[in-house]
């Protein structure tokens, strides 16, 4: 199908084996590694198009692998996390991971996330982004919902633009603050929640149950790919 190369990193042999077979079945070329060291070596030998990375590895953790990988690779990373590993999960996302799934995950969910992060990483800057009724003209800074223009403040627009350019991808609080407000504001997470709330009131048909701008509890926000 695609021939794209996916590197799977997990120290549990059965999970590794099942993921290998699954990804091969989905048309990917699969490499695998059971430790942090093996993962970095494999990624250097055969640069992957995406990485599926367990958070807990015998010789280190996924966050370190992520950080190291990011110094020389743009390949999107999906983290496998478990309940009880929320802090490590956020650390990995902040270190450059693109998304996560929680064990035990469904195969369809994992494959959908994988497609999303790979599409995004392949996409160039689009002048216009459309998701359902939501249309964002990046160049002219104009947003319409169902053809009706909505007025956004500059920060609201930038927030929506960053989410839309990474649509389908989970963006952590820290990433959003950095992208929209600059590095100086990275700790002021409450700015973000207030802006998201304002933004939802303007673009969501029902702000109390959002369709476009989703909250990933404890992690960040995501603009959906399609509705």
């Amino acid at each position: 199908m695609t021939g794209q190369r996916v590197l799977v990193v997990d120290d549990e042999p059965q999970i590794l084996r099942a993921l290998r077979a699954t990804l091969r079945g989905a048309g990917y070329t699969v490499d695998s590694a059971a430790t942090a060291q093996e993962a970095l070596t494999a990624a250097a030998a055969q640069p992957p198009d995406a990485v599926i990375l367990d958070l807990v590895l015998p010789d280190g953790n996924g966050t370190e692998v992520c950080r190291e990988l990011r110094t020389w690779s743009e390949a999107p990373v999906i983290v496998l996390s478990a309940v009880g590993e929320e802090r490590e999960k956020i650390a990995a996302l902040d270190a450059g991971a693109d998304d996560y799934v929680t064990k035990p995950f469904s195969v369809e969910e994992l494959l959908a996330r994988l497609r999303a992060v790979m599409r995004r990483s392949g996409s160039a800057q689009e002048p216009v982004i459309e998701v359902g009724d939501l249309r964002i003209d990046v160049a002219d800074r104009v947003v319409t919902v169902g053809g009706k223009r909505v007025k956004l403040s500059p920060h609201e627009f930038d927030l929506l633009r960053v989410l839309a350019q990474n649509r389908g991808k989970l963006l952590t609080h820290r990433t959003l603050l950095r992208e929209v407000w600059g590095p100086a504001y990275q700790v002021e997470a409450h700015y973000l929640h207030v802006y998201v709330s304002h933004l939802r009131r303007k673009i969501e048909p029902d702000p109390s149950s959002p369709r476009y701008l989703l909250t990933e509890p404890g992690a960040g926000y995501r603009l959906v790919n399609s509705v």
Binding site: Q14, I15, R17, A18, A21, G25, P104, L111
Partner: protein, 453 residues
């Protein structure tokens, strides 16, 4: 009584001695002026025995002087004015001196009493500060307090006040406005001492009671915190150990059922394999959990039969399929055990040893016997165990700090449980860097006569 008798005797001697002295001095000194010498009889008696004897001594002195020396000699003629004058001098001396002496004695006694009280308080303070448990000390302290107060008995009780014993008055132990107990003493002969001593003793005891309470609270809080930690670790361990095989199974099933995937026959077989292996792992975990809860509930009744221990060892190693990695040496003692349970113990010990052995180094199983016990030692050449972990490794869900491999941390706990159910015990020995030894001891059985015949 004895004191009074001595006093009377001393009085008689004093009067006699002075009378004799006057007889000796009479040729040289006018006899009238010698009457004053009786003051020396009155004086010591007044100092030592007080007014009660000093008064009779005064009168006796006057009478002796009159009888022996004042004319008409050997006759009482109480009309003599010298007589009355002498008596007045003796009486005045007696009163003044005995009062002074009594006052000094009272002062000395009071000082001594205070000294006893304060030294008891100081001693108690030292002991209690040193951390002696108050409860154990209470009867002794009460006894010593009674002694110091000069009363027959005293009682110290902690907790809410109760009705005082008959004829006893309570003195409350109070700290921070709470009553934590009471001291009971007889309603007093020595009120002043009680007023002085009891508040100090009560304050001291109250502080000690409070300190004991704080210490107990701290211990309880620590115990709670630890059991919370244990529960958290337990939950984490169970959730991880259940989730990992579930993830494998769910992934494999999801892939097999997915209409969008194109699986090769090889991949299909791999996925089925994963399901099998992980299901096996799940079922083992559930079995282990059940065994553990049965053991903890004391419901693992062993069916005892006679076995040769080396047979059980070999069978246990075979269940692991590990015959080529294990070397078995030693004797063949007989044991009366539940074979399935002891095989399980041995398999768990050997499996654990294999897990920590470097590749290609065999695990040694040495079977020996003393007069009382058959002992199996499972020796690995792994990293060994630090002293602090020797006991902890037997706690359910405990994982060695160097354990990177799978396993729920139940094997050793189960081994210990089954060993105990069969009258045996399991323990760990280790010298760091020299490998670990896990040992199983079982009561040895005399070889029955019909087997040797």
């Amino acid at each position: 009584m004895r004191r009074l008798a001595t006093g009377v005797l001393a009085s008689a001697v004093a009067v006699a001695v002075i009378t004799a002295a006057i007889a000796l001095l009479k040729p040289h000194v006018p006899v009238l002026s010698l009457g004053v010498l009786y003051v020396f009889a009155v004086l010591p008696i007044a100092v030592v025995w007080g007014l009660a004897l000093a008064l009779p001594v005064s009168v006796a002195s006057m009478l002796a002087f009159e009888w022996f020396y004042l004319p008409p000699v050997h006759r009482f003629s109480l009309r003599n004015s010298e007589n009355w004058f002498a008596l007045a001098v003796y009486l005045a001396t007696a009163v003044v001196v005995s009062e002074l002496a009594a006052r000094a004695r009272r002062r000395a006694a009071a000082a001594e009493q205070r000294q006893r009280e304060s030294s008891l308080l100081a001693e108690l303070a030292t002991e209690l500060l040193r951390g002696r448990r108050l409860d154990d000390e209470l009867p002794a302290i009460a006894g010593r307090a009674a002694q110091v107060l000069g009363v027959a008995s005293a009682e110290i009780s902690l907790g809410p006040a109760h009705r005082p014993p008959k004829d006893q008055a309570p003195y409350p132990l109070e700290i921070a406005g709470r009553t934590v107990g009471a001291i009971y003493t007889p309603a007093d002969p020595n009120a002043a001492a009680q007023r002085r001593f009891l508040p100090a003793l009560a304050a001291l005891l109250a502080v000690a009671v409070d300190r004991d309470r704080l210490e107990r609270d701290a211990l309880e809080a620590e115990a709670l915190r630890r059991s919370d930690l244990v529960k958290t670790a337990l939950l984490r361990a169970v959730s991880h150990d259940l989730r990992t095989p579930l993830t494998g199974i769910r992934t494999a099933v999801g892939a097999l059922r997915s209409p969008t995937l194109h699986l090769s026959d090889v991949d299909r077989a791999e996925l089925l394999d994963t399901i099998e292996v992980d299901s096996e792992r799940l079922s083992r975990l559930v079995g282990d959990l059940l065994d553990l809860s049965r053991l903890e509930a004391g419901a693992a009744a062993p069916e005892l039969e006679l076995w040769s221990l080396d047979d059980l060892v070999r069978e246990a190693v075979d269940t692991l399929g590990a015959r080529e990695h294990v070397e078995i040496v030693g004797e063949s003692p007989l044991v009366n055990v539940d074979a399935a349970q002891i095989r399980r113990v041995l398999a768990n010990l050997v499996e654990n040893a294999l897990k920590f052995s470097p590749p290609d180094t065999p695990v040694l199983v040495r079977i020996g016997a003393t007069r009382k016990e058959a002992i199996v030692r499972v020796v690995d050449q792994g990293p060994g165990l630090p002293e602090a972990e020797l006991e902890r490794v037997f706690e359910p869900f405990y994982r060695r700090t160097d354990d990177r491999k799978s396993g729920a941390g139940l094997g050793l706990a189960i081994a210990r449980g089954f060993a105990a159910a069969n009258g045996g015990r399991v323990w760990a020995e280790s010298r760091p860097e020299q490998g670990a030894t896990f040992a199983l001891a079982l009561p040895v059985v005399e070889v029955p006569a019909e087997l040797t015949a």
